[in-house]
């Protein structure tokens, strides 16, 4: 087998190993001095790039996708109605929801007329894609800020309703609840959007159009979501 032979002419500074190596040594020495100085700063987070983990934690994004939590509304009622949309949307099939009817006298605990009798998220299967959050018509399941998920047994990785609520309380206490998600503006129609080159010029007139579209789109989306939730409820009923 024949192979091309590559020969490159080295410049003199390259040919003599030492010059470039000394340049490199100078560079690493600069870092060394900087970091030694930095490491004598007070506080746990000294070298700017090193986080002293248990004491010193990185600020995580408010929309971080960690362990799930089951949301409550302002009056402390469980938002979930047990429709099972999340379980359907989940690519990893890690959510199990069993719907039950709210018993008399317990109406103050739940938002809807139905409630999740059983709600299990299997964290060993979950891939934290956040599709359940998007699918939920009530905004009841949300991926929270919790990221320390190591457990000793598999059973502990099954996040039950209590665990989900505990996650919620913890996040609420720490003030890490997600800010409400901005609705995504949807294009008014399926028509192709204007040509790219004209994008900048058309920006202004488009604005008005888009605003209208957004409002419409939102209303429609919300309606569609509700309708689907109802449908799912029906289906579950028929199954039950």
């Amino acid at each position: 087998m024949a192979k091309p032979v590559v020969k490159k002419k080295y410049t003199l500074t390259e040919r003599v190993y030492l010059i470039e190596i000394i340049k490199g040594l100078g560079l690493t020495f600069k870092h060394f001095v900087f970091n030694v100085k930095a490491s004598f700063r007070p506080g746990p987070h000294t070298v700017p790039t090193c986080w002293q983990y248990p004491e010193d934690r990185r600020e995580i994004a408010p929309i971080f996708r960690g362990a799930h939590m089951l949301m409550l509304d302002d009056q402390g009622r469980i938002k979930c109605v047990g429709c099972g949309m999340c379980a359907k949307a989940c690519p990893a099939q890690c959510i199990t929801v069993k719907r039950g009817k709210v018993a008399e006298g317990e109406e103050s605990k739940y938002v809807g007329k139905t409630y999740p009798e059983e709600f299990v998220v299997d964290l060993t299967r979950c891939i934290f894609c956040g599709f359940c959050e998007e699918a939920c018509p009530k905004g009841a399941i949300v991926l929270g800020p919790e990221y320390e998920l190591a457990q000793y047994t598999r059973e502990e990785c099954q996040l039950t309703k209590e665990g989900l609520l505990a996650n919620y309380y913890k996040a609420k206490e720490e003030g890490k609840l997600k800010p409400p998600k901005k609705p995504v503006p949807v294009a008014a129609s399926a028509e192709p959007v204007a040509k790219k080159a004209a994008a900048a010029k058309k920006a202004a007139p488009k604005k008005v159009e888009a605003q209208g579209a957004e409002a419409k789109g939102d209303a429609k989306e919300a309606k569609a979501k509700e309708a689907e939730a109802k449908k799912a409820e029906k289906e579950q009923k028929s199954e039950g």
Partner: protein, 345 residues
């Protein structure tokens, strides 16, 4: 009384070497961390200084694992063969001038032999057996590759190393390391310290490069190139057997640095200042020891510094550098030195 003093000196230098080997492991990790924008081990003790102790405990208490297919005798012998020459090479290198206690003059050197130079060369060459025997005894292809690479590398680089040292011997006219150290006082050409490095700049360069190769350090760390042959000759080792290899390596570094300081950087002599003139006999001994040790530390740290800056050579490039560049250079250096001495003397 002489043998008591000798034993004290031996024990002292052993513990000293071991101590600095352990401190070196700490310095290596912290230093590399600082170079790489990290923090390194900082949990055990102040600045993580107790980390080597924790590592030592870990190595001692680990299971002494031996692969079933390994050759038992050779496998056990390897680390020992590696560690013993590493520790014994230091015997002839002075670590200070002399200390006078109760009218008795004690040389700060374990053994003052007049061929100390040759002793270091000979013992240093023995270390390769430990690597080869360990690599062969492990019965692992990566180990044997590491062992072979190491043999080739050590033998190749001993030639320019020896030639560079030979040129130094020409300059000093003696094999006795203490004598060499004593000669490096005063000034050279009137303004430079009378150190070997100024008389033998090329020799020093060759010596340093070859020393990196002898110590298996980056950029010559082929015998244990992690990404290529896993861990080279000590792939199969664990526990204290591995510990012996690692310790041996650091002790080797210490010896090489001490040798370099002795030959090229005036041993315990400070430039332009003669400490013996204004220090008492005991304090002079201690001061000479401290100066020597500080110089050695600078070299040790430079080993770390270089390691975390440059990439690794390839096997054939190491050989090419050794045989085609360093040996001709060393011969040239030898020739120039000889000519110079012939003309001036």
């Amino acid at each position: 009384m002489n043998w008591v003093i000798a034993i004290i000196k031996v024990v002292f230098i052993w513990t000293w070497c071991l101590l600095w080997a352990t401190v070196m492991t700490w310095a290596e990790r912290r230093g590399s961390a600082m170079i790489q924008d990290r923090l390194g081990p900082n949990r055990a003790g102040p600045f993580g200084l107790f980390q080597p102790i924790a590592d030592g405990i870990k190595l001692f208490t680990k299971e002494e694992f031996r692969p079933k297919t390994a050759r038992k005798i050779l496998f056990n012998l390897g680390p020992i063969l590696f560690a013993i020459p590493a520790f014994s090479a230091y015997a002839v290198i002075p670590f200070g001038d002399k200390i006078v206690i109760g009218g008795k003059e004690i040389l700060l050197q374990v053994a003052d032999v007049n061929i100390g130079f040759l002793y270091v060369l000979a013992i240093g060459a023995l270390a390769v057996y430990g690597i080869v025997v360990g690599g062969w005894g492990s019965n692992n292809k990566y180990s044997i590759l590491g062992g072979l690479r190491s043999t080739a590398q050590l033998i190749s680089y001993e030639v320019p190393w020896g030639l560079a040292l030979l040129a130094a011997v020409f300059v000093y006219g003696t094999f006795d390391l203490r004598q060499i150290a004593l000669e490096q006082t005063g000034t050279f050409l009137g303004f430079l310290p009378n150190w070997g490095v100024f008389k033998q700049p090329l020799g020093f360069l060759i010596f340093t490069v070859a020393a990196y190769a002898e110590a298996n350090r980056v950029p010559f760390d082929l015998p244990e190139a992690e990404s290529e042959i896993v861990a080279g000759y000590h792939t199969e080792y664990g526990g204290m057997r591995l510990g012996l290899y690692l310790f041996g390596e650091y002790v080797n570094l210490y010896t090489l640095s001490a040798l370099c300081v002795t030959l090229y950087f005036g041993a315990w002599n400070l430039p332009y200042i003669d400490m013996s003139k204004f220090l008492g006999p005991i304090s002079y001994g201690i001061a000479s020891f401290v100066v020597f040790w500080l110089k050695v530390m600078v070299f040790l740290l430079s080993f770390i510094w270089v390691r975390w800056t440059v990439p690794r050579f390839r096997y054939d490039q190491v050989m090419r550098l050794g045989w085609k560049t360093l040996i001709p250079l060393a011969l040239f250096n030898l020739l120039i030195t000889a000519l110079f001495i012939q003309l001036t003397v």
